[in-house]
């Protein structure tokens, strides 16, 4: 099955605008990077038309990353939900999330362009680990920028990146989180663009990144559509994914955008509750602005200063969102709703106990949101992208659920 090269009626135009010229997306970037972005755009488009590049990418996904991931009929969760829930198991991919698809595509493109070094930003560390993995596999130098706050709460992923040979640079500017890591990666890139590629971690940023990343992750939706047809004989009634920057979501959605009978839901991080102001529900509660190179929904104050986002999930803790999601929301093609930290953690435990699957907290937002959708759509078939696994989140889960201590006094140590 093809993972690349298909299109939808919701694609960007040649300047990177989604939803019409000037609406969402574009390229709000320093002139110093414009030539590099043009060069990347041309190289990417040529590569996607080159059967040998596409074959190499798809072969690598298959033999190295374990793609296509399966679609799993979650019977016991379905019983609880009152609807048939299918899970696209991206958590089973190498490195534990959908992100390996994006980095393998971008790293192969880097080699093709003759560049020798990659840089990446990371929040939770998943994109950083995936980038370090692809760089190790393809023999590229790799530097990962990570907010200092995140290096502390995701120390395990820092160690993984270092073991894979990447240099991890903690970022202390601004709020010391993902948005500042992106700022620092852009600063590096301005100075290193002649030999360095920026592996952007989500379907956001300046054109062509939103479309380029989509082309590498859209296999999620293309595969899932066919797998659902094979399994159930029809399309799902609704599909759902969590949305931070939105790469796993756009990858799933892309396969169904031109199927108007399939409802589409994106679940944003509601943090402590949207009403508290401590959240990352960018589309639901943000406003239109320009951040990190594209016009999209942004959490910002009256003066256009970025407001810090909050989420228990580092991977959703971002005050912007991919511009195609903004356009899909505005067009009414997809609905974006918030899920709180508490709802997500409850769903994490529910999936663990009903299906024996521990999801990433990001993906648990999609599960929690789908449970709400199931109430409105009893008995229907709901396809959810399980974008990543929860190993990286065990520290958070231990603290949240008070785990890690034995449930009863020790036995067998009697005098």
């Amino acid at each position: 099955m093809s993972t690349t090269g298909t299109t939808s009626g919701y694609d960007a135009d040649g300047f990177g605008w989604f939803g019409g010229a000037g609406a969402f997306g574009g390229r709000f970037m320093p002139e110093a990077l414009m030539a590099a972005l043009d060069e990347l755009d041309v190289a990417w488009q040529q590569a996607m038309l080159d059967p040998s590049f596409v074959a190499e990418f798809e072969g690598l996904l298959h033999t190295y990353a374990g793609v296509p991931s399966m679609v799993y009929d979650a019977h016991r969760l379905s019983e609880v939900a009152g609807a048939r829930i299918l899970l696209k198991r991206e958590d089973l991919n190498h490195t534990g999330a959908h992100k390996i698809r994006n980095v393998l595509g971008q790293a192969l493109l880097t080699k093709r362009m003759g560049k020798t070094r990659v840089i990446a930003e990371t929040g939770a560390g998943q994109h950083g680990v995936a980038s370090a993995t692809a760089a190790a596999y393809l023999g590229l130098d790799c530097t990962v920028y990570m907010g200092e706050v995140d290096t502390e709460r995701q120390a395990l992923n820092v160690a993984r990146m270092q073991l894979l040979g990447a240099e991890v640079i903690p970022v202390r500017s601004g709020s010391s989180t993902l948005k500042d890591a992106i700022n620092e990666a852009l600063r590096d890139w301005v100075a290193s663009v002649d030999h360095t590629a920026y592996l952007f971690g989500t379907a956001a940023g300046p054109h062509p990144f939103p479309s380029l990343v989509l082309s590498f992750v859209r296999g999620i939706g293309d595969e899932a559509r066919q797998q659902c047809l094979d399994l159930t004989g029809r399309l799902p009634d609704a599909i759902a994914a969590c949305v931070g920057g939105g790469s796993n979501a756009i990858g799933l959605f892309a396969g169904f955008l031109d199927d108007p009978e399939v409802a589409i839901y994106g679940f944003e991080a509601g943090g402590d509750g949207v009403e508290t102001g401590r959240h990352a529900a960018t589309i639901f509660a943000g406003s239109i602005g320009v951040l990190h190179g594209s016009r999209t929904f942004v959490l910002q104050d009256e003066d256009g200063q970025t407001i810090e986002s909050h989420s228990i999930s580092a991977g959703l803790d971002y005050p912007g969102v991919g511009p195609q999601h903004a356009a899909l929301s505005q067009a009414g093609r997809a609905s974006y709703l918030p899920v709180t930290d508490a709802e997500a953690m409850e769903a994490m435990a529910l999936l663990a106990r009903t299906e024996g699957i521990i999801p990433a907290i990001e993906s648990a937002h999609a599960i929690a949101g789908t449970l709400k959708v199931a109430e409105e759509r009893p008995g229907q078939t709901l396809l959810v992208n399980l974008s990543g696994r929860g190993d990286k989140d065990m520290g958070t889960a231990m603290e949240y659920f008070q785990l890690g201590k034995a449930d009863a006094p020790a036995v067998g140590e009697g005098k």
Binding site: F15, G22, G26, R27, F28, M29, P30, E31, A32, L33, M34, A35, A36, D38, S173, G174, K179, D180, N183, L186, R187, V190, A191, V193, D194, G289, V290, L291, H292, G293, R295, V298, Q300, E302, D303, G304, Q305, T306
Partner: protein, 269 residues
Amino acid sequence: MTSTSVAFDKARSEGRAALVGYLPAGFPDVEGSIAALKVMVSAGCDVIEIGLPYSDPVMDGPTIQAAAQQALDNGVRTADVLRTVEAVAATGVPTLVMTYWNPIERYGVDRFAQQLLDAGGAGLITPDLTPDFAPEWIAAADQRELDKVFLVAPSSTEERIALTTAACRGFVYATAVMGVTGARTTTSDLAGPLVSRAKAATDLPIGVGLGVSNGAQAAELATYADGVIVGSAFVRALQDHPDDRAAGLAAIGALTEDLAAGVAGVVRA
């Protein structure tokens, strides 16, 4: 002919380059930045750039990042930036705002342009907005004859230099190093070729920014650039005297005089 091009022309007629000085508004606080900018004017800056502090300044190095963050932490608002422009423009020196794009879009492009004009401001320098993505700003600026200063870089293709310089009014801003803002000890060998390429495309004056921090560097640059742009070194002068406002202003004055002598070709030992 806008006031900024007049200032460049005057410098040229005096056989020297223009000195363009930058400080962020609200650093160390609003009144402090106004006082420092006025010292820069009286000590020899021909053109003033006032930075609008922004939470995500991707083109700035640590010095200006820290200053902008301090201004934001102190609660500086877009309206304070306009107030700063009004105070500095009242000296008669052409005064531009250097800003990332989102704060302008959020304030309202037409609203900002009109209030900038009303405050006596000369125009905008837009480090993350290029002409091909600036139809709203170009329309608002053209309607009011405000300066539109876009940037060219060593990586710019000939085609992009042509596009960019054609869209500029006032002057063209050449970023002559590939990297973020910040004082540098050595001058860039990328500056000369970039200025030549820009001059081949336009009759507008070319201002060059590459981390100049003293008169000797300014003098070297002034041999081929129409304007020498200095930012981080002014910020540093204030940062070096965090608790002594008078000493900070004295340092700003001394730095300006050194740079002004440099652009005039007189380098002190």
